[in-house]
Structures are given as C-alpha cells and as structure tokens.
Amino acid sequence: MGYSLDFGWLADATGAIARGAAMTILLIAVTTLAGTFLSILGAAGRRNGPLLLKRAIGVYVEIIRNTPFLVQLFFIFFGLPSIGVRLDPLLAAILAMTLNMAAYTIEIVGAGLDAVPRGQTEAALALGLRLRQVFVKIVLPQALKVIFPALTSQIIIMMLESAVVSQIAVRELTYEADMLQARTFRAFETYFVVTMVYLVLSMGLRRLLVSGGRRALGAGVS
C-alpha cells in the first residue's frame, strides 16, 4: 500500500485536457450533423426507395448494429487502405462514428416517421405542396419532435464511444489522457480526472440538446 493520490501535475495539464475535450466536442458535433442527415436519408429510403435500396439499408443497419465500434474503426482505418482507400486518422474516426451512429438513428428516425399520421401527408398534398416539401416541412419536423429524446440519448452514447478513436491516434480527450499518464506516471489520477470531464461533457451535452431542441422544435420536447 502506501500509495497516496497526487494531483500536483494537474495545473500543467489543463491545456492538454482542454484541447482533448475540444477535439471530442468537434468529433461529436460533426458526427451528429452528418449522422442525423444520413439517417434521415436512410430512413426515407428504407420506406419509399426501390427494393434493392431497402435491402441494402437493412443489411447495413444489421452489420453495424451487430459488430463492435472498435472493430468497425480498425476495419476502416487499417483494412480499407489494402483496397486503396487511405484515410487520415481524423477522417477515419469521423467516418466510423457517422456510419455507426446512422445505423442506430435510422431506426429511431424511421419510428418517428411512422408516428406521423398519414392524414398529415394527405392534407399537405391537398394544399398543393410538392412531395419533397411535404416531407421536409410537414412530416420531418413532427417526426423529429417525437424522436428527440431517443436521438439525444444516442448522441450521448456516441460521444462516450468516441473515447475509442484514441486507438488510431486521434488527439481527443482519451488520447491526451494516455499521453499525460505516460508523462506523469499518475495513471489513476489522470484517468479519474478525465472520466469526470467526460461526465461533465455528457451532462452538459444533454442539457444543451434538450434546451436547443425545445427552441428549434417547439414546446413538448423533453
């Protein structure tokens, strides 16, 4: 025993931790936008697309949902170069995160689209809106409102999973923690502090999404 905790290194480490946290926030921001967009396309395609597209989307969703994110990341970063697709770590991380998140949110968005009553589409068409306008202006906002809590949870899960991309040397929060503990030899303290930073990030992100969602989608978003 005789081990005593030492946080003396923390003063010099705040810069690195802040940089790492900023990168984690950047990753999740890009992934959220790209993933949500992709899943809206995917969910719409799965409902109204040609049969082949429906099948392809179904297969994609099942493959991603039944394999670990870490393996997907390694496959994209280490595996794809052997068929000629070479990505730098940051791009590989964003691609892996987006593809992973979209597989989960396609189902969520799809459930939201199903929840909008058919009469909404019919009424909008009767008013002379074109099909695309009906989808973008009438159906989608109502669907997003229904699924907003589920979407928020998925975004936070993805933010926590992003810790894994440190393994391909993306300089986010976990990567900075690895570097710090190698320098300070204070592994437990370092990971403890960084874990708390993640906790604050996930709680802050939830607050932000809920209040932002209320403003964008109107009342009733919880």
Binding site: L70, F74, G79, L80, Y198
Partner: protein
C-alpha cells in the same frame, strides 16, 4: 517468419473468441447479481438509498466504458490487489452491466400498476415477499427483450478490454494482423465472428419485443 494460411487465421480467431464468450457470460452473470443489488437500492423506500443508486447508474451511463476499464486496471492495484487484465476486464464489465441492467429492470418495476403492490400487501406479504413473489417476476418478464438487447451490447463491449491487454478476439486479431499484414481479411473476419454471435440474439430480442407488444 511464420506463415499464416487463411485457415490458420480463422482457427486462431475462433480460439480467441472463446475468451470473448467467456468474458461476456461472466460479466452478464456478475452484472445481473450486482444489478439486482443496485435495483433493490433504486426502488427502496429510503430516499438516500434511491439517490445513491441513481448516482451509481448515472456515473456508469455518463462516462465511457474505456475510462471505467482504465480506472479498474490502474485503481485496484492501489488498494493492494494484484490485478491482471482478466480481473480488470471482468470486474469493469460487471459494474458497467450492473448499472444498465438495474436501470432496465427498474423500468419494469415502474411499469407495474400500483395495485400489484397493494394487492400483495393486502394478502399479508411483507416487502421482501412482495418483491420476490409478485413484483420481480413480472418486472423481469416484461423487460426480457431489453435485457437480451443489452447482452448484445455487452458482447460488443468486450472488444474494449483488448485495450487494457486482455487476450480476447480483438487483441488476438491485432497480433495476427501484425504478423500477416492482411488487415482487410483479419478485421473482416473478426467483424463476421462478432456478427455470428450477436445477430441471433438481436433477432431473439426482436421476437420477444414483438410478442410483448402483441400481448
């Protein structure tokens, strides 16, 4: 230099997959036991017990599993415990699973009508008997689908233990990849093995869910 044929790769990966299965089972059983304990606190009559359990769940659901594993791996030796990757992995995943399972099962308990408790009390059962005979059997039965769904998540989560040095499927695949330089094949096969383990469970969870909604 050792030459690896395709079948050597497959054989080695399948041998390593045994550890993935074993770790998943250990964490699921361990997580179930600890999760029950957390559940008792979470639905207790005492306000502080409930808060404690909520905090525990929020902590594990609000931080990355990778960080939890690192804290196990580096933290337990400070308590004087000799720790190996297997112990850290099994304990880390057990606590992780306990938080999620407790929260799933609490959803089941909350979904039961208040009258179930009242009926139990009017039959003269005391608290623990009510839980054991009336509440928990029903709560488990309506949460079977999400529980199986979480098992899938747990199996996938074992991949992270490769990072703290536990020799499961992913860590073995890294070693094989370093020897063969065939990442496309190796990681493709790893994904396939995980898929074969998880997909039947996913389908099972789905059929449970369908059965639950049709009732």
């Amino acid at each position: 230099m050792i030459e690896f044929t395709f079948w050597d790769i497959v054989r080695n990966l399948l041998l390593a997959a045994r550890w993935t299965v074993l770790l998943s089972l250990a964490a699921f059983v361990g997580g179930g036991v600890v999760g029950m304990l957390v559940l008792f606190f979470r639905i207790a009559k005492n306000k502080w017990a409930r808060r404690l359990a909520s905090g525990y769940i929020a902590l594990f659901q609000g931080t990355p599993l990778l960080m939890q594993l690192f804290l196990m791996f580096f933290g337990l030796p400070m308590l004087g415990l000799r720790i190996e990757p297997w112990t850290a992995a099994a304990l880390g995943l057990t606590f992780f699973a306990s938080a999620y399972l407790a929260e799933i099962w609490r959803g089941g308990v909350d979904a039961l009508p208040r009258g179930q408790w009242d009926a139990g009390a009017s039959l003269g059962l005391h608290y623990l008997q009510e839980l054991r005979l009336i509440i928990l059997p029903q709560a488990f039965s309506i949460t079977r689908a999400p529980t199986v769904g979480f098992l899938v998540q747990l199996i996938k989560s074992t991949a992270l233990t490769s990072i703290i040095g536990f020799e499961e499927l992913v860590r073995t695949s890294n070693a094989i990849n370093n020897a063969t330089f065939e990442p496309f094949t190796v990681y493709g096969l790893v994904a396939l093995i995980f898929f074969v383990m998880c997909f039947p469970l996913t389908q099972y969870a789905r059929s449970l869910e369908r059965r639950a909604t049709s009732n």
